[in-house]
Amino acid sequence: MLLDFLHMGGYAGYVWSSFGLTAAVLLINLAGARRQFKQRLAFVRRRMAAGDKT
Amino acid sequence: MPGVAGTGGEGMLGKDTQEILIQAEGLELWRGERCLFRDLCLALPEGAVLHVSGANGCGKTSLLRVLCGLSEPEEGEIRWRGQSIRHCREDFQLAFAWLGHLNGFKAELSARENLAFSVSLRRRTDPEVRNNTLDQVGLCAVADLPCRVLSAGQKRRLSLATIMLSAARLWILDEPFTNLDAKGHSMISEMLDRHCAEGGAAIVASHQELGVEQRYLQHLEMEDTG
C-alpha cells in the first residue's frame, strides 16, 4: 500500500520534488530568519554591554 | 551635546523688537550608528549671523542640510517665522538661499547663462542688474566662457553672485570661503555685513573667522562625537 502511495500514479518524481522543494525553501527561510535575529540580538547586546555613549 | 546657540553679541535693534527668523528645537541626526547631534536648539533673529564651527566630521554640513530641509532630522522641529517648514515649504524655500560645497552650475553653460537661470528661478531681473553683479564679483571678463574653464575660485564667486541676487532673507552658506583669495574673503564679509544691516540673517559653517561686525555675530560650537 505504501509503495503505490509513493508511486503517486506515475507522477512520483514531480509530486515529491515539488513538496520536497517547498519544505526545503520554507525551512531555509525559517532558519535564515532565526539566525539573522540571533546575530542581530547578540550585536545589540554587545553594544549595550560595551555601554558606549550614544 | 552642543548646547543652546544664540549666545554672543546683542542684536542691533535690541533683542525683543527683532523677529526670530528661523528656530529649531530638539534636532537630532544620526549617520549610521553615530549620533551627530542631539537636542540641538537654535533661534536666529533677523540681522544676525550664526557662525557654526567645529572639527571636521562633526556634522556642520549635515546640520545646515537639515536646516534648509534637504535632510530629514531624526527628531526635532524647524520653524520659519513661527511656522513649521513642513507646512510652509514654499515660502520658506523662496525666503532662503543655499550655498553648499557644490556650486550648482552646469559646466556646459556660460557664467552669464548660469546666473540667468538660477536667478530666474527666484525672481525676474533684467540683464544689466546681473551684469553689474558679475562685475562686482569680478567675473565680467570671463562671463561668456563655459563654466568648465573657470577656476574653482571663479566658480565660487559666481555662486556668491547668485546669493547676492537671490533677494533671500536668510542665507545658509556651507564653507563659503573655500578656494577664495583674500579679496574674495573680504567681499563675503562685506556682503554679510550689508545683508544684516538690511535685516537679513545668515547661517555660515566655516573654519575661518567670518570677519563680520561683532554686533551681528553669534556662535554655535558643534561638539565632535566621533
Binding site: F5, M8, G9, G10, Y11, Y14, V15, S17, S18, F19, L21, T22, V25, L26, I28, N29, L30, G32, A33, R34, Q36, F37, Q39, R40, L41, F43, V44, R45, M48, T54 | W30, R31, G32, C35, E72, E74
Partner: protein, 241 residues
C-alpha cells in the same frame, strides 16, 4: 483609534508582542501544513484528467497566493512608512521582501515542475507563470535597491517608493500578460487552469493556504524583530533584552 495605531506602532511594544505570538503562529502553521499535506496527498481523490500529478496544486497555489499577498503587504507597509514616517512599517516592509521573494520562486518552481507532465516542457509562457516571473523581478529589484543604499533610512524610503509604484503596476502587468497570452488561441489547453475542485479536494487547499499564511506571519515577525533592532536607537528598552 489613532492611539492604538500609535501604541502598536511603537517598536518596544511590537517587539514584546511579536515575541509572545511567534511560538503560537509557528505551531499553528506546522499543524495546518501537516494536516493539509496529509489531506492533499492521501485523502483527496486523484484528478480524472491529470491523475495524481495535480497534487502539486497543494503547494503551487498557496505559494503563488502568498507571493502576491507578500508584495501587497510590503507595498502597504512601505506606503504607511512613507506617509506617516513610522519606522516599524519600514521594518515590516524590509522583513516581508525576502519571504515574498522565496514564495515567488517556490510558485515558479512548482509551477514549472507541474507543467512538465502537462506540457512536456519545463517552461511554457503560461499567463500566470509569466506574471509570477515578473513579480519575482519586482522583488529582486526591491531587494537590490535596498541593498544598494547603505543608510537604512534612505534604503527604507527609496525601496518603499519603488514598492508603492510597483504595486500600482502589478494589476496592469497581470492583465497585460493575460491579454498577451490569450491572443494566440491555442493557449487554452496549455492554461494551468485549476482542475475542477470538489469538496474533499478543496479543504486541504484552503487549509494549506491558511498554514502558509501562519508560516508567513511567523517568519515575518522574526525578521521584523531583527529589523527593529537594526533601526532602534534609543537605548533604554534595549537594555532589558
Amino acid at each position: 483609534m489613532w492611539k492604538l495605531f500609535h501604541q502598536f506602532g511603537s517598536p518596544p511594544h511590537f517587539y514584546r508582542l511579536a515575541g509572545y505570538l511567534i511560538p503560537w503562529f509557528g505551531a499553528a502553521a506546522l499543524i495546518l501544513i501537516l494536516v493539509a499535506t496529509y489531506g492533499g496527498l492521501v485523502l483527496a481523490p486523484a484528478d480524472y484528467q491529470q491523475g495524481d500529478g495535480f497534487r502539486i496544486i497543494y503547494v503551487h497555489v498557496p505559494s503563488a497566493s502568498m507571493s502576491l499577498f507578500a508584495y501587497t503587504l510590503m507595498a502597504t507597509a512601505a506606503g504607511i512608512g512613507l506617509i506617516w514616517r513610522i519606522k516599524l512599517a519600514h521594518a515590516v516592509a524590509a522583513a516581508a521582501a525576502p519571504i515574498g521573494a522565496s514564495f515567488t520562486f517556490l510558485a515558479l518552481a512548482t509551477g514549472s515542475i507541474w507543467g512538465k507532465p502537462m506540457w512536456g516542457t519545463w517552461w511554457a509562457w503560461d499567463a500566470r507563470l509569466t506574471s509570477e516571473l515578473i513579480l519575482l523581478f519586482l522583488f529582486l529589484g526591491y531587494m537590490s535597491l535596498r541593498a544598494a543604499n547603505d543608510d537604512t533610512g534612505k534604503a527604507d524610503r527609496a525601496s518603499g517608493l519603488l514598492a508603492v509604484v510597483g504595486v500600482v503596476n502589478v494589476p496592469i502587468i497581470h492583465y497585460s500578460v493575460e491579454w498577451w497570452n490569450s491572443l494566440h488561441q491555442g493557449a487554452t489547453i496549455m492554461k494551468l487552469g485549476k482542475p475542477a475542485i470538489t469538496g474533499d479536494m478543496l479543504w486541504p487547499l484552503l487549509m494549506m493556504i491558511a498554514g502558509f499564511g501562519c508560516y508567513f506571519a511567523t517568519v515575518l515577525m522574526i525578521r521584523t524583530r531583527s529589523q527593529v533592532l537594526q533601526r532602534e536607537r534609543n537605548t533604554h528598552w534595549l537594555k532589558e533584552l
